[in-house]
């Protein structure tokens, strides 16, 4: 493993339950502290001819917020989760079919995108879809004084100068997704990714 984790870089207690929904082919609920996301996967199923691809399965991600209709923020998060899932899923084994992943936010207390990524990975695993590797998501918050907090709560995210989310795959710990909100230097991004991201 890497160096000892610094204080403030501990993850909140997390829990998982798989196979809790009866209708979807695979489902998982992921809880990180007070943030909780429910994921359901349907697939490989029939696909509309407009979405059909002769090479791989068409992956659709739908993110439903706790209240209100999905907006632009949900759409951008859907695309990020979709890209991470497509890198891990062996879609070539199911051409001309569709895989639909529905994420429902049950409660949001910070680190929502990484909770969605974790729930998505476990739901794909529960559905028995072929995967190249597992992946996980982790969020880091950079406080104005430069201190790093892993898996920040909603309050830590609000006070932070920048919030970074990474997704790593399980075989060689390579980076699948990296997204930043706020202002931070490129060196800080690399530091957070190399030291704190891979020690997770």
């Amino acid at each position: 493993m890497g160096s000892e984790p610094e204080p403030g870089c501990a993850l909140r207690p997390f829990a998982v339950e798989q196979g809790l929904l009866s209708r979807p082919d695979g489902s998982a609920a992921f809880v990180q502290g007070d943030t909780s996301v429910l994921a359901g996967v349907y697939g490989p199923a029939e696909v509309r001819s407009s979405r059909e691809s002769p090479e791989r399965a068409a992956l659709d991600v739908l993110l439903r917020p706790k209240v209100g209709l999905p907006g632009v923020l949900e759409r951008s998060r859907e695309q990020m989760v979709r890209r991470a899932c497509e890198a891990a899923l062996l879609g070539e084994l199911h051409p001309r079919s569709s895989v639909t992943l529905v994420l429902q936010v049950v409660s949001d207390a910070g680190s929502l995108l990484s909770c969605c990524l974790n729930a998505a990975c476990l739901a794909l695993l529960d559905a028995g879809l072929p995967l190249r590797s597992l992946f996980c998501g982790v969020t880091c918050a950079l406080a104005p004084d430069g201190a790093v907090a892993l898996d920040p709560s909603a309050r830590q995210e609000k006070e932070a100068r920048a919030v970074l989310t990474f997704a790593f795959e399980s075989t060689e710990k390579r980076l699948l997704l990296s997204t930043t909100r706020g202002a931070c230097s490129a060196k800080e991004v690399e530091y957070v990714r190399d030291v704190h991201g891979t020690s997770v």
Binding site: G43, A45, G128, L131
Partner: protein, 258 residues
């Protein structure tokens, strides 16, 4: 950074996760139960790479989460046996040779479109029934249940099924009668029920006599003498997945008393 990602010694019967790479044993005579880390020459004979595993440069890549299983080679010294991952799934993916129960959804000229629970509907030719000729067409309507097997099932083509075996005889396949109940269970339960000398079927048979058809696509058709008995058998089979054998024996004992 972390190691190269290759898994250490994995015994057959352990849980494996997607992304694990299993190296094949170096010596062909070695015990096939262990998959070791280290340089390996190609093993003698053919190794069968079953569901949940794919060939990769270093060895076998695990793609599904489950228990790793191994079957030693049947003949003496030939082949390397078979490895596969026992995983749990609800959604069926067509495999050639699997017996399945399908629901006829459409008649299109000379073929029937059958829903088998996969991503595509399968096609069934009207000549693929025992004793069917161009003049003597089988009496199949939309909504009928058919029990057949796949002759073509791969990821690139539409699946095709037939209700006769290779010699032209029905061998139990064909249209399933209009009574009875069709319900869906998970694929793992079907495999358990299809194992030889399955206790569940034998114990249920002592309770009520019934007819049962098991499809590898997770569908079961049951018919008993009365509707109530049919529903009881169906409920027990659905619940079997989550019951231990003692709980099942208790439930059956309670039912046979009443």
């Amino acid at each position: 950074m972390a190691a190269s990602g290759l898994s250490a010694e994995v015994d057959v019967g352990q849980v494996v996760l997607p992304g694990d790479v299993l190296l094949l044993p170096a010596a062909p005579n070695a015990d096939g139960e262990r998959l070791r880390l280290g340089p390996s020459s190609a093993p003698r004979g053919r190794l069968l790479c079953g569901p949940g595993l794919r060939r990769c440069a270093a060895g076998l890549l695990v793609t599904k989460c489950g228990l790793l299983r191994h079957r030693p080679p049947a003949g003496a010294g030939t082949g390397g046996g078979a490895y596969w991952v026992d995983s749990q799934q609800k959604r069926y993916v067509p495999v050639k040779g699997d017996p399945i129960i399908g629901i006829v959804t459409a008649k299109a000229g000379d073929i029937f479109k059958v829903d088998v629970g996969g991503s595509e509907q399968a096609s069934l030719s009207y000549l693929a029934f025992e004793g069917a000729t161009k003049r003597n067409r089988p009496n199949v309507q939309v909504g009928d249940l058919v029990y057949g097997q796949f002759i073509v099932a791969n990821k690139d083509m539409e699946p095709e099924m037939v209700c006769i075996d290779s010699s032209g005889r029905a061998n139990g396949m064909g249209i399933i009668g209009h009574e009875g109940l069709l319900f869906k269970v998970s694929l793992g339960l079907i495999r358990k029920l299809l194992a030889p000398n399955c206790e569940i079927i034998q114990e249920l048979g002592q309770l009520y006599p019934f007819e049962i058809v098991l499809g590898m696509n997770g569908r079961i058709w049951v018919k008993a003498k009365t509707v109530q008995q049919t529903l009881i058998v169906a409920n027990i089979l659905e619940a079997c997945e989550h019951m231990t054998s003692e709980q099942r024996k208790q439930a059956l004992a309670k039912l046979s008393e009443s």
